[in-house]
């Protein structure tokens, strides 16, 4: 089958074009680096079908990151290249076009975002551009589908120029001359969106904006999430599903093997959705009653942040902080994604230039960025012990994030070079695109998580009834009880945590822990190891050696943090002080220790200067 490859700079609309051409659903966001792997789809033209490949964005065919390599390789395999060009940034985009035209492949150009170019006062003489480049140029507005039919019709007219390769300086001169011939710019006034754009990059206005955005995001996710979860618990589970399960429980004879698996334990003859640990009771409740509501709200908020174009601005404002943990600002994007699910976070780390950065991002995310599924359970279960205990959990994770980051930055050789990233314009997210993306993500959750959650619960029952938990509980007692101050039985939660963290947190409930023990359990579960799905991608992305190192760090960190809490929390320091103390100490440490990466980069600069 013939291959059509979409090539272009980051964030020019390749994925939007791709989803229109093939009808497949892919992630689309307003920042560079949304697509990290190539995606394949099919396009039928008359009788023929073609494979269409959506490549990650790249600035050049001489790649500088793992993601750009993928794109460059794909050009070589293409039968036809559709070069998607952002009309608002003609000069920069044509640098890549000039490289593509030197390859031995037919090329056609989709001059995209022509709507935005109009608003920005950029006028392009398309016929002239076609003539100068020697390949067809079709104007498109990918988001509305405008021009895409013409693009498909023009595919057979793609031309293979195979031009002589240019020297770097000549390339700029060539592109410069093309642009000056085809582009006219009419000056116009700043729009309010553009003023807001500048304001969010200035420290004086940018910092308050960060604070407001993060505060609103947090309030929305926690507040609305809790509201929906509460509503579901009361009406759906209390009023409808609960009675149904009670009937089923009676019908199964209130006991026996099948009852234990499906319904689980009864408390005073009644089902407790949080503690019964049956597949149909706790399993269904955890997934649909707790995780799903929180995750839906989270993804709504995330979708808005992604599509408006705020995330790269957050990255700029966070750059100084990120340098302390051996990263630069843009690494905050994988971490933000990590709060939804660690899997896409690990994949997004591919955009980062060096192995060092990828290692740090993956390790810190696995340890200190709990996914929403787990957070939902923590908020629900720890929250009811009191806000102070919830604060201790968050503060401990923040403390771990900073301190572990400082340590890795100090002891891992090399440094993380500072960032060079494009900041996209603000765009007003379209409701339709938002809902589509939300639907994709929620469906992804249901499809991928259901087998793990239900399987996890099933496994819990097997572990308990077979006596394996009692056995392991005795063996690991010195570690679990000695170091963490938890009952030996808690080893079962650590086992299930490999599968699903949300189920593991739920399993803390039947252990009958006191508040401090619950906090320790939640923190250790968050930090000690990634869940199976994340582990699989980590292994692929980091390789065996680095994964092994990362895993050792995770386990050591989790148990150290658990030990620290076991020693201090409530026995020496009351919860509210503990939370505040951890945050303050982490910030002071970050200031005092500083960024080793920064020092090394400057030393390196002195050497080359």
């Amino acid at each position: 089958m013939k291959k059509i490859v979409l090539v272009g700079n980051p964030n020019v609309g390749k994925s939007v074009v791709f989803s229109h051409l093939t009808g497949s659903k892919v992630m689309i966001s307003n920042y560079s680096g949304t697509t990290v792997e190539f995606t394949r789809g099919q396009l039928k033209i008359g009788e023929d079908s073609y494979a269409v490949l959506d490549a990650p964005g790249t600035y050049s065919l001489t790649p500088s990151s793992k993601v750009e390599e993928v794109a460059a390789d794909m050009v070589d395999q293409a039968d036809v290249v559709i070069n998607v060009v952002d009309a608002t940034n003609l000069e920069r985009n044509l640098l890549l076009t000039s490289e593509v035209l030197e390859r031995d492949v037919p090329v056609i150009i989709a001059l995209n975002m022509i709507d935005e170019a109009g608003h920005k006062g950029v006028k392009i003489d398309v016929e002239k551009l076609e003539e100068l480049l020697g390949v067809p140029v079709i104007t498109t507005v990918a988001v509305s589908g405008e021009g895409l039919k013409k693009l498909v019709d023009a595919l057979p007219k793609a031309v293979n120029r195979k031009k002589e390769p240019l020297e770097v300086a000549d390339r700029w001169a060539y592109v410069g001359s093309v642009v000056s011939e085809v582009q006219t710019i009419i000056h116009r006034h700043h729009t309010w969106l553009e003023s807001l754009q500048d304001a969010s990059l200035r420290p004086l206005t940018g910092i308050p904006i960060v604070a407001i955005v993060l505060y609103l995001a947090f309030q929305l996710v926690i507040g609305v999430g809790e509201m929906i979860a509460g509503f579901l618990e009361e009406y759906l589970f209390g009023g409808l599903y609960g009675p149904l399960m009670n009937r089923l429980s009676e019908w199964l004879g209130s006991g026996g093997f099948l009852h234990d698996i499906l319904i689980g334990r009864l408390f005073d003859g009644a089902i407790e959705f949080e503690e019964s640990l049956g597949v149909l009771t706790t399993g269904v409740f955890v997934e649909f009653g707790v995780v799903l509501p929180f995750l839906t709200v989270f993804y709504l908020v995330l979708g808005f942040l992604e599509d408006s174009g705020y995330l790269p601005r957050l990255a700029v404002m966070a750059d100084r902080v990120m340098h302390r943990v051996g990263l630069h600002g843009y690494s905050i994007i994988p971490m933000v994604l990590g709060f939804g699910c660690n899997v896409p976070a690990v994949l997004a780390a591919r955009n980062l230039e060096s192995r060092r950065e990828r290692f740090i991002v993956c390790t810190l995310t696995s340890v200190a960025v709990p996914c929403m599924a787990q957070l939902a359970m923590i908020v629900g279960l720890v929250g009811r012990l009191g806000g102070a205990y919830l604060a201790v959990v968050f503060a401990t994770l923040f403390f771990i994030w900073i301190v572990l980051g400082l340590i890795i930055d100090r002891f891992m050789p090399g440094y993380t070079p500072s960032m060079v990233v494009e900041i996209p314009p603000y765009r007003i997210p379209s409701l339709r695109a938002q809902l589509k993306k939300l639907g994709m993500r929620v469906k992804g959750l249901i499809v991928h998580a259901t087998p793990y959650i239900l399987g996890g619960i099933l496994l819990v029952n097997i572990l308990y009834t077979s006596g394996i938990v009692d056995y392991l509980g005795v063996i690991f007692k010195p570690l679990i009880q000695g170091v963490l101050g938890l009952p030996g039985e808690a080893v079962s939660t650590l086992l299930i945590g490999f599968l699903r963290k949300d189920v593991a947190v739920a399993m803390l409930v039947p252990l009958g822990l006191n508040a401090r023990q619950f906090v320790i359990g939640a923190v250790v579960l968050a930090a000690y190891f990634p869940c199976a799905a994340t582990f699989a991608v980590l292994l692929r992305e980091l390789g065996l050696r680095d994964m092994f190192k990362s895993a050792i760090i995770m386990v050591l960190t989790a148990f150290s943090a658990g030990f620290m809490l076991n020693m201090l929390l409530d026995t020496v320091v009351p919860a509210p002080y503990m939370a505040a103390g951890l945050v303050v100490v982490a910030i002071i440490l970050a200031f005092v220790v500083g960024s080793t990466s920064d020092r090394r980069e400057l030393e390196d600069l002195d050497k080359t200067a």
Binding site: N89, K120, D198, P203, V316, D319, V420, L605
Partner: protein
């Protein structure tokens, strides 16, 4: 007057004069559209040692401190006086 991006003031315009550091670094900046002879406007610095944001043509780029120090700009004459130096 020649200044590094870090030393330029927000709002100042100029032309990129030189990119110090290895050839790889200059090439990478070139790919993203920042090359010698390009007109550039500084938007902001995020604190003393934070990233610098600039505007070129129609797009904005954020450049970390370590790298911004290596980009030398010939600042427009008129601008210099108007900002009171």
């Amino acid at each position: 007057m020649k200044l590094s991006l870090v030393d330029m003031k927000p709002g100042q315009n100029g032309v990129i004069e030189k990119v110090m550091g290895g050839p790889g670094f200059a090439a990478k900046l070139g790919h993203i559209g920042l090359h010698r002879g390009k007109r550039i406007k500084k938007l902001s610095s995020i604190f003393r040692r934070g990233p610098v944001t600039v505007c070129i043509d129609n797009f904005q780029v954020a450049i970390g401190y370590g790298k911004a120090m290596r980009i030398m700009v010939e600042v427009d004459d008129g601008e210099e006086n108007s900002t009171g130096r």
